[in-house]
Symmetry: C2
Subunit: 351 residues, 2 copies
């Protein structure tokens, strides 16, 4: 198909997505996820209609009860009259295309609610990373007019933490009692978290988990300052977020990640989590520090996209040279450092 034909087709699909047609949204998501020819034209056509949705990332260890909490958040947001798009991302799953089991169950539960759209992405190994794919799919849901887009990840691996960077506000869900795994990646989790929820708070160890989080936040305060946050003011139970805007004009520049206990299974503490997330949203959209963070993430996105585009273009332009170079390095006739410099020069000269 010619580029013009792809563009025409993409524009037509984009119009149906913006009109909120469910089947077109599903198709657009599939096209973007699978990167079928024309997907970039589709994203270009959708982009002017994006920027309205509030994107909320939900991450945390397996077993923390993220799915149940996500369900409760959907309910609470729907009760407020907001429409909700959900992207459930599983970078470690070998499944492709279709919905995973938990997703099917949830889809069934919300099947009669046109204000909820749930889609799971289980593919991995995309060129350019799953985070790019997730960001593009979030844009589809954004353009489709959902007020809130929830991006839920299965675990807390590097891929998953990167995915949460596509969100405005990220909720980190913790089980009562933190394992070694959390300790090992605490730096990444702390940088990611805008709100902490200690779920299953009716179980033993919930207070210990809160204390562990307090300690981690205290230890990680340096990292938090570096990322535009600061040491958290800890809240047990109700929303008492220190130094947040009480009234316009008293806007503080730094966000304090609060910690909330909840029991998603029984629907306890959900409203407090939603309120904390909403306050964070207000921070992101109304303060200079929040705007800087959003701009920083856009810079990251453009740099990341450029990085992938450059290597793709270079791989095409230098196919023969790359092969010869590797042979020369293999024979130790050329070192890989000089080789890389030479390839760069050749690529720029080929432009």
């Amino acid at each position: 198909m010619s580029l013009d034909a792809l563009r025409t087709q993409a524009a037509a699909l984009a119009a149906r997505v913006v009109a909120g047609e469910t089947r077109s949204i599903a198709r657009a998501l599939r096209n973007v996820d699978d990167r079928v020819p024309g997907y970039l034209e589709l994203l270009k056509a959708l982009f002017p209609s994006t920027g309205k949705a509030w994107v909320v990332g939900i991450t945390g260890n397996p077993g923390a009860g993220k799915s149940t909490l996500t369900d409760r958040l959907i309910e609470a947001l729907r009760a407020d009259g907001k429409t909700v798009g959900v992207l459930a991302v599983d970078p470690s799953s070998p499944y492709t295309g279709g919905a995973i089991l938990g997703d099917r169950i949830r889809m069934t539960r919300h099947a009669n609610d046109a204000g909820v759209f749930i889609r799971s992405v289980a593919t991995r190994g995309h060129l350019g990373g799953l985070s790019r794919s997730a960001r593009d799919m979030v844009r589809v849901l954004d353009a489709a007019g959902f007020d809130v887009v929830l991006v839920e990840t299965v675990g807390v691996g590097q891929d998953e933490l990167e995915i949460t960077r596509t969100a405005h506000s990220t909720l980190v869900v913790m089980p009562p009692g933190l394992g070694d795994e959390v300790q090992a990646i605490k730096a990444g989790l702390l940088e990611t978290a805008d709100v902490f929820a200690v779920n299953k708070a009716d179980r033993d160890g919930a207070d210990a988990a809160v204390r562990d989080l307090e300690l981690m936040i205290a230890l990680g305060s340096e990292a938090l300052v570096a990322s535009g946050k600061r040491r958290g003011h800890v809240v047990h139970g109700g929303v008492k977020v220190d130094a947040l805007p009480e009234a316009p004009g008293s806007t503080p520049e730094l966000w304090t990640p609060p910690i909330h206990k909840c029991v998603a299974l029984r629907g306890e503490g959900i409203r407090e989590v939603v309120s904390a997330l909403e306050k964070h949203h207000a921070w992101v959209t109304s303060t200079e520090a929040g705007r800087e963070r959003r701009r920083g993430r856009l810079v990251e996105e453009v740099r990341e996209a450029l990085r992938e585009t450059l290597i793709d273009a270079a791989t095409v332009a230098l196919a023969k040279e790359l092969d010869e170079t590797v042979s020369a390095v293999e024979a130790r006739a050329l070192d890989p450092y000089t080789a890389t410099e030479q390839l760069l020069e050749r690529f720029r000269a080929s432009g």
Copy 2:
């Protein structure tokens, strides 16, 4: 300093490294790790002296007893008259530069043995990733003439699995009883493992761990075939590696990752692990499939280095354009996909 002066200095340091001077080796590692000006010239000067060492990666969950097993491997290799360089990598540690505690203890133990050199790398967040830094540091130890270079990682995160890809042979150390964490990343671990060691095999759960591994290998056989391996022939205890070269001429093409039980603390089963690793080394160096794998990793390295070099060069060449582009995307006057294509064109035109 001029490039010529940097080159002269690098050549002098390289010569001292190749001569095996301990303080120069330490200095070269520091320069490479910190990427001090001239480090690339140093690596270029060292490269012709590399390619002789056998690089062994050691990875596995925290608590698997990797450090103790590494110590035993050092002892066994020294008993065989081989010199050993050790790089202990901790991507999650905030420490920089100096040695971590366990490393200091080990250094003390081997302090009087000139045939052992241990260095820990605890920095993170390097541009281009820790795996690039680790590979470069391995080259320093290789050029310094160590017969074997052991690269030990602290955990089994994505960074750490990537680091093991710089090795010829990778040992995955498992504790008795596998947790959820292992299950979650089993695909990565299976692709990485050339030899499995179930350590602390005197404890309950060692046989269960072996069975879990068998199951994981069976489930992951498809992935293994894709990466040039195949379903493992499982060995409990002694080295019985099915389908390995018994005599020249009967070389099989596929490597079967064996599973060995050991008790590193008491020095039991160590010789079998070393033998399995040595057989793998023979496979990597003497078979066509092994050579293909080495070439594949070299292709990866050159592509990865080119990727970083391209984005670095583009960031310098397009500093002003990048800023303008982000502002235009922020204002939604330009979509990030078209923006990236425009930046690519401008970069190539600027060459």
